[in-house]
């Protein structure tokens, strides 16, 4: 006889023999957990029920069970706490109550997979600047390990990489209960590795990662220069890759620009799908601000939103930070605030946006190579001028996303194919020529230092 049917029969029998009060108090939330070698294991909600059933109704229960199933020899009671039902859903509603009071997010992160349930695809704002990354992420959450493996998402800080990465994990969790998912930052990976070496537990460490169906490593650039980590990770990577497990990385730059990264890892990172998230355009920034306002149940004049979107260009995180400061200020002052006030607030709180003009790039490169600026713009084909000129074009393309025709126009009306040629030349050269690579790194440092 099935467990459910059997227990129903027993309950029907017991109900006839005891008072309704006792029946509802003690037999609520009970059921048969298991049947083994003539022993019936009964789930009870707490220790009180266990004591009570055993001391008071044990004979009655055993008798009723034997009547229905003569094979029953003994009965045991197991406590099965009732308090872990549907937490996930209720949790989210409780979060909404306190939009202004910040919480320890860490408490809500699942310790098994490290995923924060708040990062979902639904709450991700898609624009032209991240559309490709979004699509790729969504695709792999549906086709694990088969389509884009590994997926490598790169771009500056505060552009939503972590959100996207975690959304993949959360989506998979929703659709596939049994999938083993693990999200980890590269720093945490390294410190876990060191810990496992110290405690002689490296086997368990490796196993933990090899079992994953989806392994997500955030901020992989911090692997740079850590040889032991890279070596261990290389083996984990291979093992996962060979068994078609999905691997996802994020990084603040493309693999080829990660310094101190072993060649074999670099080539593996590049072996799957590489997508970038770039800075949001003005329209996207507006959309992001509007959606954040909506989620906070707050309204600001369009003019204000447009102003914020026009001055903060670098990161979504900064955008949200600025919005929060302004909302906070409005709440403290209890009135609307003018654009001028907003300007002052942002000036105080947001780090100045470092503008690098074309002229600054040219000047820096000219100074660096100790040549006159006009030769960089000029047509001279002397080698000492050609390389700096090509580097300038390369930087404009690589770091500022300028279009090839635009660069051509700036450099004395050159054809865009010439620019493409220069760009690719440097791109290839960097990998072969260590000196050139270092020079470019130094130029970048001069350009971007505050």
């Amino acid at each position: 006889m099935e467990k459910e049917k059997l227990w129903e029969g027993v309950l029907a029998e017991i109900e006839l023999n005891i008072s309704p009060a006792n029946f509802t108090t003690w037999f609520q939330n009970t059921n048969i957990a298991n049947k083994e070698d003539g022993t019936i294991f009964i789930n009870v909600p707490n220790t009180f029920a266990k004591e009570w059933l055993f001391n008071k109704y044990h004979k009655l229960i055993t008798k009723a069970l034997r009547c229905l199933d003569p094979n029953v020899r003994s009965v045991e009671y197991i406590i099965l706490p009732q308090n872990s039902n549907n937490l996930q859903k209720n949790q989210q509603s409780s979060h909404k109550e306190s939009e202004n009071q910040l919480e320890f997010n860490e408490l809500y992160i699942n310790s098994e997979d490290n995923l924060n349930p708040r990062y979902t695809f639904d709450s991700f704002i898609v624009g032209s600047f991240n559309e490709l990354a979004y699509t790729a992420a969504e695709t792999i959450s549906k086709n694990l390990g088969s389509q884009y493996n590994p997926l490598f998402i790169y771009g500056g800080t505060g552009l939503g990489k972590t959100h996207l990465l975690q959304a993949i994990g959360n989506k998979l969790k929703e659709t596939n209960n049994s999938a083993k998912i693990r999200y980890i930052t590269s720093e945490k990976f390294t410190s876990d590795l060191i810990e496992s070496i110290r405690s002689n537990n490296i086997y368990n460490f490796k196993e933990k990662y090899r079992q994953c169906n989806l392994l997500i490593i955030d901020d992989i650039q911090f692997f740079s220069g850590k040889q032991k980590t890279q070596e261990e990770f290389f083996h984990i990577f291979n093992s996962l890759y060979e068994s078609n497990r999905q691997i996802v990385f994020s990084c603040d730059k493309p693999p080829k620009h990660i310094e101190g990264l072993e060649e074999r890892l670099r080539s593996r990172f590049e072996g799957g799908m590489m997508v970038d998230v770039s800075k949001p355009d003005f329209e996207s920034r507006l959309a992001i601000l509007k959606s954040k306002l909506e989620s906070k149940n707050f309204t600001l004049p369009n003019e204000t939103i447009e102003y914020i979107a026009s001055v903060i260009k670098d990161s979504i995180r900064e955008l949200e930070g600025a919005l929060n400061i302004i909302i906070g200020e409005i709440k403290v002052k209890n009135r609307e605030i003018s654009i001028q006030e907003i300007k002052d607030i942002l000036k105080k709180n947001i780090k100045p946006y470092k503008t690098v003009t074309i002229n600054a790039i040219i000047k820096t490169i000219a100074d660096f190579y100790n040549i006159e600026e006009k030769f960089i713009f000029g047509k001279t084909r002397k080698k000492e001028y050609v390389t700096p000129r090509q580097i300038a074009m390369y930087l404009l393309r690589e770091d500022f996303n300028s279009s090839f025709p635009y660069i051509g126009k700036k450099f004395g009306g050159r054809d865009h194919t010439t620019v493409i040629y220069s760009y690719e030349k440097i791109l290839n050269e960097i990998n072969k020529n260590e000196r050139l690579n270092q020079e470019i790194t130094q130029i970048r440092e001069i350009l971007y230092k505050d």
Binding site: P81, S84, Q101, N324, V332
Partner: protein, 369 residues
């Protein structure tokens, strides 16, 4: 049943037990207290009450003339005893299954319940006993329990977490995800496994044992805990879950550290609260150059408040706002004159500690900047 005992003993114990009872429509007997007199425990009677979440057993001295048991409504007997001032000694007797309480010139009859329905308190098989002074244990609980979540949605944080090992002192932790309190007391126990005690039980434990002397014995298994002090035995279920890995939340470094007088801060916060808005928001602005903290509140209805408090400050200036209640809550449980406030910039938790000792820390999240 026929017994004689001191009225004071019975009155005090019944009033402790009454709080544990429960109005249960299904099982009215849960609203009663069970009085048992058994010859195998001469010179003592036992009072029992439970609401199926927690239970209490109290032994009080008594002269037993005749064995027996009776369950009477706790509210009724408590109400009677608290107003009954006539005698020091009283007699309890079972007459036609009802309880008769008599003293010279007085006789009271309280209708009883059939005792067959009275639930037995759970027992624990493995005897793993930890002992420490009850004062210390209660101070540990009191230092943190107000920080537990009251919502009940996540049972593991509507609780107090207790743990120890042979290397780490007994630690008490409570959090509601907005703030977190941690208290350590210097007792190390080998073989102790983490305990998660529901908030509602903690409130009762504090009430019952707060003014007791001597040691408390702690016995527990996976499902329940038993606490024993002298003649009182308290039992509670435990939460079967995992307390969040709270240590990862506690920052190790800070960008701003301010030392202030506790009383001054408390008074200012209380005054400031009059002018804080619906969100209980107070703004703190830390000025390193002037060695002071500016405290501001404003509300559309009541007005504005602006004051400063002297402070030794190391690190960066910072502007941050908090729900004042969350800060005031912990100040009551710090027993030094000065406190240390550690900041890490906007949107990061503030960590409040004692000036000289590291046994207590309290983290609180700010309001959204």
């Amino acid at each position: 049943m026929k017994i004689t005992c001191l009225k004071k003993h019975l009155k005090d114990s019944i009033s402790l037990a009454e709080k544990i009872t429960n109005k249960n429509l299904h099982l009215p007997i849960l609203g009663s207290v069970l009085i048992s007199a058994k010859n195998n425990k001469p010179g003592k009677i036992k009072l029992t009450a439970t609401n199926l979440e927690i239970g209490i057993e109290i032994n009080i001295p008594a002269k037993i003339e005749e064995e027996g048991e009776v369950a009477v409504p706790a509210g009724i007997i408590n109400g009677f005893l608290s107003n009954f001032n006539k005698a020091d000694n009283i007699n309890l007797e079972l007459v036609n299954n009802n309880l008769v309480i008599s003293a010279p010139n007085t006789s009271t009859l309280i209708k009883s319940y059939p005792i067959d329905d009275f639930p037995s308190l759970p027992t624990i098989k493995e005897e793993n006993v930890f002992s420490l002074p009850v004062k210390e244990f209660i101070s540990g609980l009191k230092s943190v329990y107000y920080g537990a979540s009251l919502s009940g949605i996540k049972p593991e944080i509507s609780s107090v977490y207790i743990n120890s090992s042979d290397k780490t002192p007994l630690v008490f932790v409570a959090t509601d995800s907005f703030r977190l309190a941690e208290k350590k007391i210097p007792y190390k126990f080998k073989g102790f496994s983490p305990l998660i005690i529901p908030y509602r039980s903690i409130v009762e434990i504090i009430r019952i044992f707060e003014n007791k002397e001597g040691d408390i014995d702690i016995i527990f298994d996976k499902n329940q805990i038993i606490l024993i002090v002298d003649n009182i035995k308290f039992i509670s279920r435990l939460i079967d879950g995992i307390f969040p890995d709270y240590k990862q939340i506690i920052p190790q470094k800070f960008t701003t550290t301010a030392v202030v007088n506790k009383e001054d801060l408390m008074n200012i916060l209380k005054t400031a609260s009059i002018f804080s808005g619906r969100l209980n928001e107070v703004n703190l602005i830390i000025h390193k150059s002037d060695n002071m903290i500016e405290i501001k509140t404003s509300s559309q209805e009541t007005g504005e408040y602006n004051t400063t408090i002297n402070s030794d400050i190391i690190g960066e200036d910072i502007k941050i706002s908090f729900n004042y209640r969350y800060i005031v809550d912990c100040l009551n449980y710090i027993n030094t004159d000065t406190i240390v406030m550690n900041f890490n910039g906007p949107n990061k938790p503030l960590v409040i500690t004692n000036k000289n000792t590291s046994d207590f820390q309290y983290l609180v999240m700010p309001m959204n900047a």
